[in-house]
């Protein structure tokens, strides 16, 4: 009996949906075992079709993208109600992802920046999108833009997480296979990724770390053999879960942390801050500050994908 599956695209870039397609021929294996009953980007099913379904009818729902407006939240609740297993797919649903960077700003700043100040816009009156508008008697509605980006598990109860931006296609398939084989790890755990950090998977030689300088990727020709952190590049590998196959590191670019932290690490960015600071070489205050000043924007670099899931969740306004 085929399983019923659904994929939804919340506040995200759609990369995760593309990742699902990227499984190439394995999509046939998926199609053979599953009926996709809801996939707004690919199939023409409507919300009402889902509302018409029984509770828990979906065997599995892959929800990618963060919860950024009221529609995301509404459909999240709806899919939760209609699904047995709800999976947060990709960094946005799992940690808030790049979308989560909005938490460093207020809603008003964002709207003003996009609809008024952006270089290519001419909008003297400063009109902004409205939630509800009537034109010639016809009601027009837009979902409400939230002031704070939320991760999926801050809105509904999530069974599993598939991390990554985007998640590695094979890992998505492995997750789906695990669901219909029924052998799933305890509820709430991360699947489709390793249990250690990237350093385990990374083939570069690692020595004792003592950082004397920070460099940006453009400033240094990296030695392919040596650990990037030891070459002064701010690599988040040590704090990020493995499973992505070191796509970035293998192309000589430091890891940005999209696969999120391991179990028991409540805040990926601050945990890396602690680890990084501990191995700075200088001992005097001035020298330490000078070295830290070589990192252009430490907090957003450390929290590129995970500010919405960090302890403080957002900038205090």
């Amino acid at each position: 009996m085929k399983l019923k599956a659904g994929i939804y695209w919340g506040a995200g870039c759609g990369g995760c949906d593309v990742a699902v397609l990227d499984v190439h021929e394995k999509i046939l294996l998926v199609a053979e075992k599953m009926d996709l009953l809801f996939w707004p980007i690919a199939l023409d099913f409507k919300y009402d079709d889902v509302r018409a379904m029984d509770d828990g009818e979906f065997d599995i729902v892959l929800y990618n993208g963060a919860v950024r407006n009221s529609e995301n939240e509404e459909i999240a609740h709806l899919l939760r109600q209609k699904s047995k297993v709800m999976v947060a797919l990709g960094a946005c649903a799992h940690l808030g992802g790049l979308i989560g960077m909005a938490n460093f700003h207020t809603k008003e700043d964002l709207l003003k920046r996009v609809y008024v100040d952006s270089e290519s816009t001419v909008n003297e009156e400063g009109t902004l999108p409205q939630e509800y508008w009537e034109e010639a008697g016809i009601p027009l509605e837009l979902p409400r833009l939230y002031g704070t980006v939320k991760t999926l598990d801050q809105v509904v109860d999530v069974d599993y997480y598939i991390p990554g931006c985007p998640p590695v296609p094979e890992q998505i398939v492995n997750a789906l296979v695990a669901v219909w084989d029924g052998n799933l790890p305890p509820k709430g755990s991360v699947i489709g990724a390793g249990s250690r950090t990237l350093c385990d998977e990374c083939s570069r030689t690692k020595e004792e770390k003592e950082i004397t300088e920070f460099k940006r990727t453009s400033e240094v020709i990296t030695d392919p053999e040596k650990c990037l952190l030891e070459q002064g590049l701010l690599c988040l590998g040590p704090v990020t879960r493995e499973g992505c196959g070191s796509r970035c590191i293998n192309s000589n670019v430091p890891c940005r942390g999209c696969y999120g932290p391991l179990e028991g690490v409540p805040d990926q960015g601050i945990r890396m801050l602690s680890a990084l600071a501990s191995v700075l070489e200088p001992k005097e205050e001035e020298a330490i500050d000078e070295l830290i000043s070589q990192i252009p924007d430490p907090l957003r670099t450390l929290h590129r994908f995970s500010v919405a899931a960090s302890i403080l969740r957002r900038k205090k306004i």
């Binding site: 009221s70 529609e71 939240e73 509404e74 609740h77 460093f104 939630e131 509800y132 009601p139 509605e141 979902p143 409400r144 939230y146 002031g147 704070t148 939320k150 809105v155 509904v156 409540p266 805040d267 601050i270 945990r271 801050l273 602690s274 990084l276 600071a277 501990s278 700075l280 200088p282 001992k283 205050e285 330490i288 500050d289 830290i292 000043s293 924007d297 430490p298 907090l299 957003r300 450390l302 960090s310 302890i311 403080l312 969740r313 957002r314 900038k315 205090k316 306004i317």
Partner: protein, 162 residues
Amino acid sequence: MSFEPKIVGFLCNWCSYTGADLAGTARIKYSPNIRSIRVMCSGRIEPTFIMKALYEGADGVLIAGCHPGDCHYQEGNYKALRRYRMLKKVLPDYGIDPGRIRLEWVAASEGEKFANVVDDFTEEIRNLGPLGIKEGLDEMMKDDVIPHHASGGEKGGDDNEA
């Protein structure tokens, strides 16, 4: 009455906690706004603890360790200093005044200094006012709900206060 800041202190067992005890044995009075947690070394204090304290309701966090060179474990306090400097650098991006966290070297014999540091820090935080991360968060996300007319008009946003 005036705002009474809540301060969380992380004191290292060998120097600052002993120094704080000494203030006690000498009956030196200081403001009761601080609640201290004992760790074996200032090197044990993770920035995550500090963020957790700020999130749970602390208006200020005091980190205290041995003077450089005196650390019972030789170098723990240097790590504390490095983490402190980096945390101080990133706090403004979180909209938090870096003055809300403070690192002090307090020797086991400096009971008086500990008392002065607590009083001085309490006043400093009193001037900065309450931080209230948690309340601020709830306040901020108060209007993040499904609007009443979004789905078919009558079912409003008010009844799904999930």
